[in-house]
C-alpha cells in the first residue's frame, strides 16, 4: 500500500509549485519534527502530531499522537476515520491536508498552507438574529417618535395653535386634532354632542374641569342648600378624605362639592351614571347630629335606613294649606268628597250594573276599573286631576229637566248657578207626560249621559225646597259633597284633592305599569274617601331596597327618587341660556339668538 503526497507551495508572486511523491507505507506520521513522513513547519503543529494508517476496506484511520487534536472536516477531533473515495479535509495549524482517492489509485494527500485567517467575526455575527431583524434600537426610536408625535405633539400643537373662531364657522374648524385618542371613554348620552369637542369642558390645559364651565350650559342648576349649611351638614372631613382633598387641591381640583365630585364622565355611552348613594348618605346618614334644626329624617339606605314616606294632604275640613303626614299606620285625609272606592270598584252591585249598562261603546267593562275615572298624564308618569264632567258625570248625571228632546243640566261647581237654574225651573209650565224626569225612577237601561237619570229635585212648584234638598246629604250634590252653610245659605265644603303628594322625591307610574294599581293602592277595600291610599314605605320595600342590596328586585340608590339639585326654574333636560359674560368662554355666540347647538359648537374654541 502506498500514499501519494502532493505538496502545493506558492511562490512569492503567487505561482503554485506542485510536487508529488509516493510513499509506499501502510502508515504516515505527521508533525513538525523533520523525521515525520509529512513535515509541517508550523509552530502550532506538534513535533509528532498525528498518524494516518490504512485499515481494512480501504479506509484511513487518523489518530492524534500528541496532546493536541486536529481538524477533520472543520471539526476538532483526536481520532477519526475517512473513506478516501469520499474525501476529507484535515487541518493541522495553518496546513490543510485534502485526502482523496480515484479508483484503484493510492490515496492522495494534497498539502497546502493557508493563511489561517482569524475567525471572521462576520461569520459568527450571522448566528445572531440581528442579521435578520431590524435593529432593536431603530425600532425603538421609530416607535418612540411615532407615539410621541401622534399622541402628544399633534394634539398639543393643534390645541395651542387652533384657529380663532367667529360666529358662523363650522364645528370642525379649529377643533383639536387627534385628541379623540385622549378620551378615556365615551361621553354620556346627554353630552354626546360634545364627543369631538374635548376643549368645551377641558377649557384650559392642565386645569381641571371647572364648575363655571359646567354652568355655562347648566346655568339654572341650584345649590343643594346654602354653602354654610351644607358644610355644617357634612361635618368635618374624615382623615382619609381630608388627605385626598389636600392632594387633589395640589393638582388643582376645586374641592368637595364641585360638579365633578359627583358627576363623573367618560364612563361610557348611555345615561350618565346616577350618583352613588354614598354621596348622599355621607351627610344624610347622620345629619340630625350636625343639623339639629333639620326636619329631615336621617337616610342612609332606602332598604334599611329611610324615614317613613310623608304625603302632602289636607286632613281637616276648612284647611287652606295642606300638611305633610306620615304614611305609617292608617293615615286619614279630608278631601271634602264622599267617595267609597270599594263600592265603585265592586264587581257586583249598582255601580257594576251601571257600567255594564253603559257598555263597551261608552268604554266600560262589566264593572268599573281605575282607568275609567283616572286618566294618566301624557308622559304616563302621573294622573290628571279627576274631572267631574269627564270622569263622574257619565253616571252621576246633573240633568234636571227636559224641554222637548233637549235635556237641561246643572253646571257643576257653581252653587249660585244651580240655585238660579232650579229656581227658574217652575216658571215654565210643561206637560206632565214630558217631564218624565220628575216622575220617578225608570228602567236603568236608559241611564247614560244625555239619557235619563232620576234625581229628586222636589216638586216644581217648590223650587226653594228643592234647592235645599239638592244640597242635603241625600240630595244630588250631597251625594258626593259634604253640605255646609256659608253666610246662612246652604253650600258644600270645598274639595281639596291633590295631584302630587311627595314634596322631596318623585314617583313615576310609567316605570310601574307592570304592576296592578291595587298592588300598591288598596282602593278595592277602602270604604271611605278619608282613607289615604298611598302605600307606605314597607310596600315600596317589597321590591326596592338600598343600592347595595343585591338580593332586592330593584336595588335603588337615592337618585332614583331624589334630586340633589332643588327643582327650580329650569326643568330637567333643557339647557338654560348662559350668561353673556361667562368668564370661561368669552366670545360665545349670542346665546339669545342661537340655539344650544351653536353654543356647544363654540364652547372651548379660541375666541378672536
Amino acid at each position: 500500500m502506498a500514499f501519494l503526497i502532493r505538496t502545493i507551495d506558492l511562490t512569492a508572486d503567487g505561482r503554485e509549485i506542485i510536487r508529488d511523491r509516493e510513499v509506499a507505507q501502510e502508515a504516515l506520521t505527521i508533525g513538525r519534527a523533520a523525521e515525520n513522513d509529512i513535515h509541517l513547519g508550523d509552530l502550532a503543529v506538534e513535533q509528532s502530531h498525528a498518524r494516518i494508517e490504512q485499515t481494512a476496506g480501504g479506509k484511513l484511520r487518523i489518530e492524534a499522537t500528541g496532546t493536541l487534536g486536529f481538524l477533520l472536516d472543520g471539526r476538532v477531533t483526536k481520532s477519526g476515520q475517512i473513506v478516501p473515495h469520499e474525501g476529507a479535509e484535515l487541518g493541522f495549524g495553518s496546513y490543510r491536508l485534502v485526502i482523496s482517492q480515484n479508483g484503484d489509485e493510492a490515496p492522495t494527500i494534497t498539502i497546502s498552507q493557508t493563511e489561517r485567517a482569524a475567525q471572521s467575526s462576520d461569520d459568527l455575527a450571522g448566528f445572531s438574529l440581528a442579521r435578520t431583524l431590524p435593529s432593536k434600537r431603530a425600532t425603538a426610536w421609530l416607535a418612540l417618535a411615532a407615539i410621541l408625535a401622534l399622541f402628544l405633539a399633534v394634539p398639543i400643537y393643534s390645541h395651542l395653535t387652533r384657529s380663532a373662531v367667529s360666529e358662523g364657522t363650522s364645528t370642525r374648524d379649529g377643533a383639536v386634532m387627534m385628541d379623540a385618542s385622549w378620551s378615556t371613554g365615551a361621553l354620556s348620552q346627554a353630552h354626546h354632542s360634545l364627543e369631538d369637542n374635548c376643549e368645551a369642558c377641558h377649557a384650559e390645559p392642565f386645569k381641571s374641569v371647572q364648575d363655571t364651565t359646567c354652568l355655562t350650559c347648566h346655568q339654572d342648576i341650584a345649590d343643594h342648600a346654602d354653602k354654610p349649611r351644607q358644610l355644617t351638614g357634612r361635618g368635618p372631613l374624615s382623615k382619609g378624605d381630608a388627605l385626598q382633598w389636600a392632594v387633589a387641591k395640589q393638582f388643582g381640583k376645586e374641592g368637595p362639592g364641585s360638579c365633578t365630585t359627583c358627576h363623573t364622565e367618560h364612563e361610557g355611552a348611555g345615561r350618565m351614571e346616577p350618583t352613588a348613594q354614598q354621596f348622599c348618605s355621607d351627610c344624610h346618614g347622620t345629619m340630625d347630629t350636625r343639623l339639629t334644626d333639620t326636619s329631615l329624617g336621617n337616610a342612609a339606605d332606602f332598604g334599611t335606613s329611610h324615614p317613613q314616606l310623608q304625603a302632602v294632604l289636607f286632613t281637616a275640613p276648612g284647611q287652606t294649606k295642606p300638611e305633610r303626614i306620615s304614611l305609617a299606620g292608617k293615615p286619614k285625609e279630608y278631601s271634602g268628597l264622599k267617595f267609597p272606592h270599594e263600592m265603585h270598584m265592586s264587581r257586583s252591585g249598582g255601580v257594576a250594573r251601571m257600567a255594564g249598562n253603559l257598555g263597551t261603546k261608552a268604554g266600560y267593562g262589566s264593572s268599573l276599573v281605575c282607568a275609567d275615572c283616572h286618566t294618566p298624564t301624557a308622559d304616563e308618569a302621573g294622573f290628571l286631576p279627576v274631572d267631574m264632567e269627564e270622569d263622574c258625570e257619565s253616571c252621576h248625571s246633573l240633568v234636571y229637566d227636559k224641554v222637548g228632546t233637549t235635556f237641561r243640566t246643572l253646571r257643576h261647581g257653581d252653587v249660585e248657578q244651580m240655585r238660579a237654574d232650579l229656581a227658574a225651573l217652575d216658571r215654565v209650565p210643561r206637560s206632565p207626560a214630558g217631564s218624565g224626569i220628575l216622575r220617578g225612577r225608570q228602567r236603568p237601561g236608559q241611564y247614560s249621559r244625555g239619557g235619563l237619570y232620576y234625581q229628586n229635585f222636589g216638586r216644581p212648584t217648590r223650587s226653594l225646597v228643592s234647592i235645599n234638598r239638592a244640597l242635603s246629604p241625600n240630595g244630588v250634590c250631597g251625594e258626593c259633597h259634604v253640605p255646609t252653610t256659608t253666610n246662612g245659605k246652604p253650600d258644600v265644603m270645598p274639595v281639596n284633592l291633590r295631584n302630587h303628594f311627595l314634596s322631596n322625591g318623585w314617583f313615576n307610574h310609567e316605570a310601574h305599569t307592570q304592576e296592578k294599581c291595587t298592588t300598591c293602592h288598596k282602593a278595592d277595600t277602602s270604604k271611605s274617601s278619608s282613607d289615604v291610599l298611598l302605600p307606605p314605605l314597607a310596600t315600596c320595600r317589597t321590591c326596592h331596597m338600598g343600592e347595595d342590596d343585591k338580593t332586592a328586585d330593584v336595588p335603588s340608590g337615592c337618585a332614583m327618587c331624589h334630586s340633589y339639585h332643588p327643582k327650580g326654574a329650569a326643568k330637567n333636560g333643557t339647557i338654560a341660556r348662559a350668561s353673556p359674560g361667562g368668564d370661561k368662554h368669552p366670545g360665545l355666540p349670542n346665546k339669545d339668538k342661537q340655539g344650544i347647538n351653536a353654543v356647544l359648537a363654540m364652547l372651548g374654541r379660541k375666541s378672536d
Binding site: L71, D73, G74, R75, V76, V83, H85, G87, E89, V98, S100, N102, G103, Q119, D123, L124, G126, F127, S128, L129, R131, T132, L133, K136, T139, A140, W141, A143, L144, A145, I147, L148, F151, L152, P155, I156, D179, S181, W182, S183, T184, G185, A186, C198, H202, P205, F206, K207, Q244, V247, A248, F251, H266, E267, G268, E273, T275, A276, Q278, F279
Partner: protein, 292 residues
C-alpha cells in the same frame, strides 16, 4: 500568607454555592415581595369602594397608576443597569430577579389601574404595550430556562466558528469533487455553495423550515440515481456524499440558528416595546393632566 489560598478557596466555594438562578435568588425574595404587592393590590381593589366604579381616574386609580408608572420606569432601567456590573445587595442578579417578579406584579397593578375600562385610545395603547412587554418577558424567562440546554446539546462541543469552518471544509471538497460534472449538475452544486447560510428570513429561522434550500434541491437531484452501489467513486456519488454531509452540517447550524432565534426573538419585541411603552406612558400621563 499561608491563609490566603485558604480564604480564596472559601470564597470560591461560597460563590459557587451562591450560583443560583436569578429566579430563585435569595430564596425567591422578590417573588415573595411581588406576591405581597399583588395581594395588597387585589384586596384593596375590592375593599376600596370607588364610585360609580373602578377606573384610572379615582384616587385609588391614581395611586395604582403612580405605582405602576414608577415600576415601569424602574423596570426599564434594567437596560442601563445591566451595563454596569456590581456585586452585593443590588447585584445585577438581584436586580434581574426583582425585574422579573415586579414585572409580573405589574400585570395585576396595571390591569386594576384600568378598572377594566379599555378602549381605542392612548391610555389603552400604553396598557397594551405594557402587556406586550410583560408577556414577551415571560416568554423570555421561559426560553432562557429551557433552551440553552438544547443549544449545547445541538452544538455537540462545536463552537459556532467550527460549524462555519466545517461547512467551509465540506464546500471546498464539494468544489473539487464537482469538477467532472456537466453544466446542469454543476449549476446545482454552484447554487448550493453560493446560497448564504444566514441570509434567511425570520420565519425560516424560527421554524427551521428552509423551503428554498439549494442544498436540499441538489441532494434530491443526485439522490435520485440509485443505479450505482454505494461507495463507488463516480464523481456524482462523491458529490452526493458531500452534499449529504453538507446537509447534515447545515442542519446543525440551522438547529443552532433556530434555538438562537427562539432565545433572542423576544428581545426584539421586549425592548422596542418598552421604549414605545415609555413614550405611550408619557403621552398617557401628560394627556390626562393636559385635559385635566
Amino acid at each position: 500568607m499561608a491563609s490566603l489560598p485558604n480564604e480564596q478557596n472559601q470564597r470560591e466555594r461560597r460563590q459557587s454555592s451562591d450560583h443560583e438562578s436569578f429566579l430563585s435568588h435569595k430564596k425567591m425574595r422578590w417573588l415573595k415581595i411581588a406576591l405581597v404587592l399583588c395581594l395588597i393590590t387585589v384586596v384593596s381593589y375590592f375593599w376600596v369602594d370607588v364610585t360609580p366604579r373602578h377606573n384610572g381616574g379615582s384616587w385609588y386609580g391614581y395611586t395604582l397608576g403612580t405605582i405602576g408608572a414608577l415600576l415601569i420606569v424602574w423596570l426599564s432601567m434594567l437596560g442601563i443597569r445591566k451595563r454596569n456590573f456590581s456585586a452585593g445587595r443590588w447585584s445585577l442578579k438581584a436586580w434581574t430577579s426583582a425585574h422579573v417578579y415586579l414585572g409580573l406584579a405589574l400585570i395585576v397593578i396595571g390591569t386594576l389601574h384600568t378598572g377594566f375600562q379599555l378602549g381605542w385610545n392612548v391610555h389603552t395603547l400604553a396598557y397594551a404595550l405594557m402587556m406586550l412587554v410583560i408577556l414577551s418577558g415571560i416568554y423570555g424567562v421561559a426560553v432562557y430556562a429551557t433552551l440553552p440546554a438544547s443549544l449545547s446539546n445541538n452544538s455537540r462541543e462545536m463552537t459556532r466558528g467550527e460549524m462555519v469552518e466545517a461547512l467551509a471544509a465540506i464546500d471546498r471538497q464539494l468544489q473539487a469533487a464537482a469538477q467532472p460534472l456537466g453544466r446542469d449538475e454543476s449549476d446545482l452544486v454552484i447554487e448550493a455553495l453560493a446560497q448564504s447560510t444566514f441570509n434567511w428570513g425570520i420565519g425560516a429561522r424560527l421554524s427551521g423550515h428552509y423551503r428554498k434550500c439549494a442544498t436540499n434541491r441538489a441532494l434530491a437531484y443526485f439522490a435520485d440515481d440509485w443505479s450505482r452501489p454505494a461507495g463507488s467513486d463516480e464523481p456524482k456519488d462523491k458529490v452526493r456524499a458531500l452534499l449529504g454531509r453538507r446537509k447534515s452540517q447545515l442542519d446543525q447550524i440551522r438547529r443552532h440558528l433556530r434555538i438562537r432565534a427562539l432565545l433572542e426573538v423576544w428581545l426584539y419585541l421586549h425592548i422596542p416595546a418598552t421604549i414605545a411603552l415609555l413614550a405611550a406612558l408619557t403621552a398617557h400621563v401628560v394627556s390626562v393632566f393636559y385635559y385635566w
